[in-house]
């Protein structure tokens, strides 16, 4: 039986998984594809609309196109801002954590705590925390004379959303980096000491190269999650002030459920999906290529 490299019976074994994937992914996505190509005049009254939704969406001249372009730009800006803070900060904190002894477990658990809190709870916590009258954060900033107001000032709103995401998800980067750092054999540090390397030289020449693999994973995960951010801005700022923190996901929900503009929303979902997929693919390919070049 084992002399041929394929076996048709194998299909039986993966059949349950295929059925599951069919119902959990393929059918919902195909429904969305279906919506994106049709227009509706009411309940269950659909007619063919071709690629019109997509053309409108991708043309910044139209109202929906302009809206989409703005939200897309905001979402990219948010991902960039969050990553720019979380990755360096996560590495820096991971470097400061103890390497051995009783403090290791305690530090790791404390570090990981924010990740265990559900998104909407985080949002509610920060909504109260950021209030100028009773919130510790908001009241403190106002107290020292900063013009801080989440609901009125777009800079405040942005800063708050980024800070929330940093607070919530830097621990992931910390834990990944910490695992990567712990995997570096002691001999590297000993050799660096013998070579007279400074702390900075050790970081640049040993720690950072050895962290490359976990950082690929960290950046990929954080990019996907920040690009899909929804709950925190909805709870804390409601997408405002104005549309200052209306990211793609929020806009999508507004169009789909607020305006019941199903066709537009479906087209937008698909474009959104393809953007994330493409960004991740480009990113992953570039990183693995870099690594392979390093080997040759």
């Amino acid at each position: 039986m084992m002399d041929k490299p394929w076996n048709n019976k194998a299909w039986f074994f993966i059949l349950p998984v295929l059925v599951l994937v069919l119902f959990s992914s393929v059918l919902p996505v195909m429904t969305v594809v279906n919506y994106s190509l049709q227009d509706s005049m009411g309940v269950n009254n659909f007619f063919w609309n071709g690629d019109a939704w997509f053309r409108d969406l991708l043309d910044p001249g139209t109202e929906i196109g302009a809206r989409f372009a703005d939200a897309l730009l905001r979402t990219f800006a948010f991902s960039f801002a969050a990553l720019a803070v979380e990755i360096p900060l996560g590495i820096a904190i991971a470097l400061c954590l103890p390497r051995r002894g009783w403090a290791v477990g305690i530090s790791l658990v404390i570090t990981a705590l924010p990740m265990l809190i559900p998104w909407n709870v985080v949002g509610t916590m920060w909504q109260i925390f950021a209030r100028q009258d009773i919130g510790l954060f908001g009241a403190a900033l106002t107290g020292i004379g900063l013009p801080y107001n989440v609901t009125q000032d777009s800079v405040s709103a942005w800063v708050t959303i980024v800070v929330i995401d940093v607070w919530h998800w830097t621990p992931l980067v910390i834990l990944l980096s910490y695992a990567g750092l712990r995997a570096i054999p002691d001999a590297y540090y000993q050799a660096a000491r013998i070579d007279g390397a400074s702390r900075w030289a050790v970081f640049v020449n040993i720690e950072l190269p050895k962290l490359q693999k976990v950082l690929v994973i960290a950046v990929l995960l954080r990019f996907m999650q920040t690009f899909m951010i929804y709950t925190e801005p909805v709870v804390v700022t409601g997408g405002g002030p104005g549309s200052a923190t209306t990211f793609l996901s929020i806009d999508l929900v507004k169009i789909a459920i607020g305006q019941v503009d199903v066709g537009s929303a479906a087209a937008m979902s698909l474009v959104y999906y393809i953007i994330i997929l493409t960004a991740c693919w480009i990113f992953f390919t570039v990183m693995t290529q870099l690594e392979r070049r390093g080997d040759s």
Partner: protein, 358 residues
């Protein structure tokens, strides 16, 4: 360019050592001389790596002083001691080329660029790394990486000792011999003090001028390979060096004779009467099966190694390994055995007893 003096160096990993067992390294006095190659040989956990790490400064010993020349360096950090170390697994800087790797210790010491380039070229030539200088270090083979590790130590002109921590562990067997000869050549060319940790006796005996045999945190004997082979001071050295190890037989010794079971064996020297925990030790090379002479032994099996044959026999129920002369063809189940008196040594409580010449 200096000697290294161990003045009562001892180390325990627990904070309050109570008995000898708590010591990873028991108090040791020794002077390592400039220009010599030493091997620290012993089984895993015998304290050899601890000793090496004390010399390199990665561990501060709990007792004793460490002197480089006249300077007390016991508490000096690694980077201020003039030593280089090659680890078990090759340590290279992944993102750098071979040349950058070799230049790294010099750049850290703020040496002028032209001087660095000249020194790197010189060391690369010595280690035969010149063709690879502009390649990424990470893509090279383990033995090339190990040469880079060594090179990073050698580029520094201030290095007074090079320490090796089982450097051939991950090297291909075929390349081990080559790399070891390279090490010896470098040693001769640079007149450095080299200390080499290994558990492989072949490596130790072929590399070193002096071998320090360690067991359970103690240096049991320090000597040339010949001394370790011919006159082990401790039964452990007898067991550990040579394959197979030395034969040890419980005996009663008086004058020039040892009594083993019912047989009398002539010794090469004269001893006072010894009865308590006494054993005689003799290497298989100096125990020879004969057709009829000497005490009778029962043959259990014969191993043919090509260039020599070894017989496992029993002498009055005591296991013994003996060489089989080329001339001897048919070996029965019972035959005679002779001992070379000059190479029969006497041990009491595991330590060799010196006899008076007869």
């Amino acid at each position: 360019m200096t000697t290294i003096t161990l003045d009562g160096i001892a180390h325990a990993y627990t904070r309050h050592p109570r008995s000898d067992r708590d010591y990873a390294l028991r108090p040791l006095h020794h002077v390592w001389e400039q220009g010599m190659a030493y091997a620290l040989l012993g089984p895993s956990g015998c304290g050899k790596t601890t000793l090496l790490n004390i010399i390199s400064g990665l561990i501060i010993p709990s007792e004793g002083r460490l002197l480089f020349g006249e300077r007390d360096v016991t508490r000096l950090p690694t980077e201020q001691r003039n030593i280089a170390q090659v680890f078990q697994f090759p340590v290279i800087y992944d993102t750098m080329t071979v040349a950058e790797n070799l230049a790294f210790p010099l750049r850290n010491r703020k040496m002028a660029k032209p001087a660095i380039a000249a020194r790197v070229a010189e060391i690369a030539a010595m280690l035969e790394l010149t063709p690879d200088l502009n390649r990424r270090a990470r893509g090279l083979t383990a033995d090339a990486k190990q040469k880079i590790s060594l090179g990073r130590g050698l580029v520094r002109s201030d290095v007074s000792a090079v320490l090796f921590d089982e450097p051939l562990t991950v090297i291909d067997p075929a390349l081990k011999w080559e790399l070891r000869s390279k090490l010896k050549a470098v040693h001769r060319a640079l007149d450095l003090l080299m200390i080499y940790v290994t558990h492989d006796q072949t490596e130790a005996l072929t590399f070193a001028d002096r071998v320090v045999v360690m067991n359970e945190g103690q240096a049991v004997q320090i000597g040339t390979p010949e001394e370790l082979f011919e006159r082990p001071d401790h039964t452990f050295v007898g067991y550990f060096i040579g394959s197979p190890g030395m034969n040890f037989l419980p005996a009663a010794v008086d004058g020039q004779y040892a009594r083993v079971g019912g047989s009398r064996i002539l010794l090469g020297a004269s001893y006072p009467a010894l009865t308590d925990a006494v054993r005689i030790g003799v290497r298989p090379d100096f125990v020879t099966l004969t057709a009829g002479n000497g005490p009778k032994v029962q043959v259990r099996r014969v191993d043919d190694f090509g260039r020599k044959r070894l017989a496992h026999v029993t002498l009055d129920g005591l296991a013994l390994v003996a060489t089989v002369p080329d001339s001897m063809d048919g070996i029965g189940t019972e035959t005679g055995v002779t001992f070379d008196p000059a190479h029969v040594l006497v041990y009491q409580n595991e330590i060799r007893v010196e006899g008076t010449p007869a």
